[in-house]
């Protein structure tokens, strides 16, 4: 099970702030593509991914038990 955290416009598009996804062993880019297909998220090309609170590369693998956060372009400060 993958715990997915949503923020900003993604949270509003999903109508919730977290998802539980029953996939594993996917690469980050595959995982994003799967979410885009399933939830119709917009602007996902600009969204970064963090695995367990660390920014991840497109070819990093996502394992069961990971917390995956989708990080839209940040605008703090």
């Amino acid at each position: 099970m993958i715990n997915v955290l949503l923020f900003a416009h993604l949270q509003e598009e999903a109508g919730q702030d977290r998802l539980e996804i029953d996939e594993e062993g996917m690469r980050v880019d595959e995982f994003k593509q799967m979410l885009e297909d399933r939830y119709k998220f917009t602007q996902l090309d600009q969204v970064m991914v963090a695995i367990n609170e660390e920014f991840a590369f497109n070819n990093d693998l996502i394992n069961s038990g990971d917390t995956v956060a989708l990080i839209p372009p940040v605008s703090g400060g």
Binding site: A8, E53, F55, S75, G76
Partner: protein, 158 residues
């Protein structure tokens, strides 16, 4: 150092607290940056803002910025607090305090911190205008990251 140097809070930020965190007998200079909510942006009027954070990761990233600064400007002390939630015009969203034996480093490190916050800290701002609302995207007009993540510096970069 007892107090936390890097914090995400949902209440007003006290400037004096941040100064206390960075004070030192060997500091000759303390710079602070206070980011406030501005009413007018390019002719559009903001009514209020809402900030959201991925809190544990945001704190980690603030600490990463602190480490980057320590390695680039030795002998500085940095503290950063970012507020989240509903903010009205003139409310303080972020304070960065840097102390240093010499002033040049205190200015440079402080400006570096705010630039990095806008690159790597997972905090989002929703702008509520008179006629609508939006989550603001990347305000840096960066090109998309080639490898899917922003550059996080480590000591090897220096």
């Amino acid at each position: 150092m007892k107090e936390e140097l890097f914090e995400i809070v949902d209440h007003p930020i006290q400037l004096e607290n941040l100064i206390k965190k960075v004070e030192s007998r060997n500091a000759g200079a303390i710079t602070t940056f206070i980011g406030t909510v501005r009413e007018w942006t390019k002719g559009k009027r903001t009514v209020y803002l809402e900030y959201q954070a991925y809190k544990p990761m945001a704190v980690k990233m603030l600490a990463t910025i602190g480490e980057e600064i320590q390695s680039k400007w030795p002998n500085t002390i940095v503290a950063i607090t970012h507020r989240i939630g509903h903010l009205d015009i003139s409310d303080v969203a972020v304070i960065i305090a840097v102390s240093s034996p010499h002033r040049k480093a205190a200015y440079e490190a402080n400006e570096y911190a705010i630039e990095r916050i806008k690159q790597i800290v997972p905090i989002w701002k929703k702008e509520h205008w008179e006629d609508g609302e939006t989550w603001l995207g990347d305000q840096l007009e960066n090109v998309p990251y080639h490898d899917g993540k922003p550059h996080i510096k480590d000591e090897k970069d220096d």
